[in-house]
């Protein structure tokens, strides 16, 4: 007696209990049926069905509401974040002003201030401007053929930009920004999926790299370096765009404030 065979033949689909009960009854005696218990049981069935339907119908809008609440939450937090950023910017300028005033009081302070204002642009803590280069880098044309995402494509990857930026530093660049994001000594250039992150914020092609530094020296040094060869290879093999343009005046913004590693808030001062 195989369960599956029974199921397929349909022989025993009806509960065998019915046949047994029928056999137990005296021949000719009427079968007991449709009394109150049957009504009660069917009432229970109706109740179960209705409860399930009601429950399912009730849960669907609940899921939708939850989603809307999450979206609302995200918007709220983003707004709060923006507000905090504005506040932080305000406090930073306030602290810079106070620092300026304190340093102005003594000769040593004035000397420190001069040194700071000399070093701050190079450390990306202040805006920087001067003669330099504008470099445009962009993905090459998509490869021909049926498979658009074959490995042989002119897609710029994070390590291409890393190589170029390191080459520029080595060639004597004093300040670099990618798509308006200033690079410090510790700024990360990474990939997240297809996108490239600079300072953990996504940027998209074309990549405009602004460099402050002696344009002639940098171009000569870069052309001779590993980074320059790498970019030229990408250009000739995959058809990426790689243009260098000399500019008499390049403006670089300052980088975001670095995290405080050693300074601690004084409590209860």
């Amino acid at each position: 007696m195989s369960l599956l065979a029974d199921l397929i033949s349909g022989r025993d689909a009806i509960d065998p209990g019915y046949a047994e009960a029928a056999a137990r009854r005296a021949p000719g005696a009427p079968a007991r049926h449709l009394g109150l218990p049957v009504a009660v049981v069917l009432c229970l069935l109706g109740l179960l069905l209705t409860v399930a339907v009601v429950q399912t119908a009730r849960e669907r809008p609940a899921a939708k509401r939850e989603r809307a609440a999450l979206i609302e939450n995200i918007r709220d937090r983003s707004t709060a974040n923006e507000e905090l950023e504005r506040q932080a910017e305000l406090l930073r300028s306030e602290s810079a002003r106070l620092q300026e005033r304190q340093l102005d009081r003594s000769a040593a302070g004035r000397q420190a201030r001069d040194e700071l204002s000399r070093l701050a642009p190079r450390a990306a803590a202040a805006e920087m401007s001067g003669a330099g280069l504008l470099i445009s880098v962009d993905d090459g044309p998509p490869p021909e053929g049926p498979s658009p995402d074959s490995p042989v494509s002119g897609h710029i990857y994070d390590h291409d930009l890393q190589t170029l930026v390191n080459g520029l530093w080595a060639a004597g660049a004093q300040g670099i920004a990618i798509n308006g994001r200033r690079l410090t000594a510790t700024t990360a250039i990474r990939a997240a999926g297809e996108a490239i992150l600079v300072d953990y914020r996504p940027i998209s092609p074309p990549y405009e790299i602004s460099v402050v530094g002696d344009p002639g020296d940098i171009q000569v040094e870069l052309a001779d370096s590993e980074a320059g060869r790498h970019m030229r290879t990408l250009q000739s093999t995959f058809g990426i765009r790689y243009d260098l343009r000399e500019e008499s005046s390049v403006e670089l913004p300052k980088a975001g404030a670095p995290p405080l590693r050693y300074a601690k808030e004084v409590r209860g001062g």
Partner: protein, 110 residues
């Protein structure tokens, strides 16, 4: 007649009260419903074949529902809840189909 009245009464009560299903019972409700549907169609077929018995119907209904829920409960404890649920649904589904086919043959002679 009394059966139809009972069924309608259940539906009306369900809509009127809209009881909240406790969370621990929620996974077992659908499977219990499939099992009870199986018992109901079994009873309907038995009635059409003239062998319906009240006691068999009530007992099969209650035990079907509880056993189906129990199987899923045990499966959940063993970590194969969804697989066992599928198994129970397949078996009961085939039974419902064959019972319905028998009812159809009897009613329409086709």
């Amino acid at each position: 007649m009394i059966a139809v009245i009972g069924l309608l009464a259940g539906v009306v009560i369900g809509f009127a009260l809209q009881p909240d299903v406790p969370l621990w019972l929620q996974p077992y409700l659908p499977i219990a419903i499939v099992a009870s549907l199986d018992a109901m169609f079994g009873g309907l077929r038995a009635r059409l074949e003239g062998v319906f018995d009240e006691k068999v119907f009530v007992v099969s209904f209650v035990s079907n529902t509880i056993v189906a829920a129990l199987i899923v409960f045990v499966g959940d404890r063993l970590g194969v809840g969804s697989q066992l649920t599928t198994g129970v649904v397949v078996v009961l589904g085939i039974r419902i189909f064959t019972n319905l086919a028998a009812i159809r043959r009897r009613l329409f002679r086709a």
